[in-house]
Each structure stands twice: as structure tokens, then as C-alpha cells.
Symmetry: C2
Subunit: 227 residues, 2 copies
Amino acid sequence: MAKKSPPQALDGNAVRTQRTRARILEASLKLFNERGEAHVTTGMIADELNISPGNLYYHFANKDEIVEQLFARFEERIDVSPQAALDGSGASDVIENLWFYLHLMFEAIWAYRFLYRNLDDLMDRSRHLREHFNRIAGHKLEAVEALCEGLIRARAMKATPAQVRALASNVLVVATYWLNYQALRRRPVDAETTLGAGVYQVMSLVAPFLSGPARQHLEHLMQNYTD
Amino acid sequence: MAKKSPPQALDGNAVRTQRTRARILEASLKLFNERGEAHVTTGMIADELNISPGNLYYHFANKDEIVEQLFARFEERIDVSPQAALDGSGASDVIENLWFYLHLMFEAIWAYRFLYRNLDDLMDRSRHLREHFNRIAGHKLEAVEALCEGLIRARAMKATPAQVRALASNVLVVATYWLNYQALRRRPVDAETTLGAGVYQVMSLVAPFLSGPARQHLEHLMQNYTD
């Protein structure tokens, strides 16, 4: 029998390469979020890390490649169905789990907020980003509609198919553009307040269609939030 | 008694100047809407009108000045209270008048859609635009809240003050970002479909809080819209 070779260990260079790539992505995300992607150059990213521009270009051909890598990480985090979090929950659990899931989604949006601050420009520049963002939105619309249909079957929601469709679109618009609206309104942009308010606004779209204990439970949670 | 002098007539030069300014603004609005403000130069505007760049600079020092003039026209058109349109209407009239008013607002947004396509960038560049846009949003929030309070007094709506506040913010977010969302979703962007769908989405936010004949009338209008 042939001897198995031991699992290939990464050599020192490969480890260093991976670590540098990760540091470049992290520093880029920080600078993009702080200053807006349009105002950040690859030179500024290299400066931030005390590496040479040449070293940076060894890892990423240009800024667009960094943006695409960051977008891929964002997509992995946001493109998660709420179904797993909600399966088998009772009427009050489902509301709390939904609230928690929405909070996770808003946290992902906040972590990659440069994408949202600059959405139209990024979409104009990259067909890849536009297609993926549109696909994420499509999945979310389907998820909201499936969720509503589940609540209707469980007699926790009353809504016609047309109402569910309109509700799903409104959920998407409010979740997608909440940060932009807060910036436009010059609201303080600390994470906790902004995200909490975003979740509250989305839940306020859903609330009028709930009935029975689910509605009471949500009204209770929303009351606590505004107190 | 002193003889009144006849009203000062504009001389030929002044008339020509005014006409050229108006033509520059009109051509700029057209190009900005078609191509995005960021992709249009003053040279392209001069070309479109078959005038020299020097002639254009005689009227406007730079592109930002053209954007500010266009914004002033937009503000005049959008910053109109719904109150005049709604005063003294009965329960069903109020819904139809509100629908019509929303259509006018969406038409104004559509006419100046370059502002919305490029909102974050324009706000970053101009404190003046940011303040005015924020002021318009403030007026609209107040108008929606006043409208809801009127409907509540007329027993055509049931909502708590917290619900009215959340509703007003959601109306603002959906109305402000509807075109961006349609572009993100790659929806066909003919004016009629996009604006009609925007009005429908905003009305669907209001509908769950209406009661009595106002609610029935709105549900009837929305039904006709989706058929």
C-alpha cells in the first residue's frame, strides 16, 4: 500500500501572503467606510499599512479588485435566509427571532456601509456588483414573501397576496436605503442608534398586518424600544 | 402730479441673455438626467446647444452653479404642502387628492432624477444642497404627520403617535429612494410605470392605518391599479 503523504503544510511565504491580503482588505474596508470609497486611493491603503504600493499591487491589481473581494465577503454575510432562524418558532418566538435576524442584517450593512453610501456609482462601474446586488435583493424579496406566507398560514398575519408583494418591496427599500436616509437627515451615525432605528422602521412596516399574540408581542417590543 | 414712466422694457440684449440662460439650464437638465451629472461636462452642454464654452461661462461660472440653479427650480416644485390640495375634502376625496398630490411629487422627482441618482455625492460636494434637501425632507415629514393627524381627527385613520412617526419616516424613505431601488432592480425605467408604482408603494404604507370609507376607497383604487 502506498504511504500517504502528510497534509501539505503552507510554507512561510504562503502564510505571509495570506496574512498581507487579509490586512489589505481590512484596512481598505476601514478607509472606505470612513472616507467613502471614491476618496480612497491604493496609495492611501498602502500608507495605512506601512507597505509599499508595489507590495499592494502584488496582491491586488487595482482598487476595483479590492472592492470586489470585499463585496464577496459582504455577500456571504448578507445573503443568508431567515428561514433557519425562524423554523419551528412559536408566534412570539418568531417575532423575536425576526427582530434578531434583522439586527444581524443591519449589522452586515453597517460593516460594509461604503457599498451603500456609494451604491449607484458602484453599480454603474461594475456589472458584476450590480448583478450580485440585484440577486441579493431578489433573494430577500422572496424571503420576506415566504415569511409572510408562513405567518399567514400560522394565523399570525392577515394580508392579501398584493399586500404581501407591496410590503416586501417596502421592506427592501427601507432596509437598503436606511443609512443613506439617516445621512441625508444628518442623524448622528453611531452604529447602535442607526441600526436599532433601522430594525424598528422595518418592523413597523410588518406590524399592521400581524394579528393575535404575534401582534401584541411585536407592539410590546416596539413600545420598549421607543421608551 | 408727476407723470408715471412706462414700465421698463427689457432691451434686446437682456432678453437674449435670459433666453440663453434658460436654454443652458434646459439642456443641462436633459444631459444630467440621461447620462448622470458626473459624466457631463460644461463642454458637452455647450456642444449640445451649439454655443461656445466662453458663451456658457458668461452665464454660469461652472457646472456647480448650473446644478444649484436646477436644484432651486426643483425645490420650488417639490416643496409644496399637500394641505391646499386636501383642505375641505371628504373621506374619499381626500384619498384621491392624496394620490394625485403624490403623483405630482413623483413627477417632480422624475423631472430632476439626476439629483436622486447621485444624491450622496451631491450632498458630499455641496453643503447648500445638503441643507436644502434636508429641509425639504423635514417639511415633508411634518406634512405627512399633519395629514395623518387630520385623518385621525376625521376618524378616517387609527394610529398612535409612535405609529404616525414611523409611518412618516417610511413614506419619506420610499419616496426618496424609489427611483434608486428601481434602477438597482433593473426595472424598466419608463416614467409612467415607475411613477405609478412609486405612488402605489407609498399608498400601501398608509393603507393599513385607514379605516371606514377612506380605507375602502383606497383599497378600491389600489385594486384598480394592480388589475
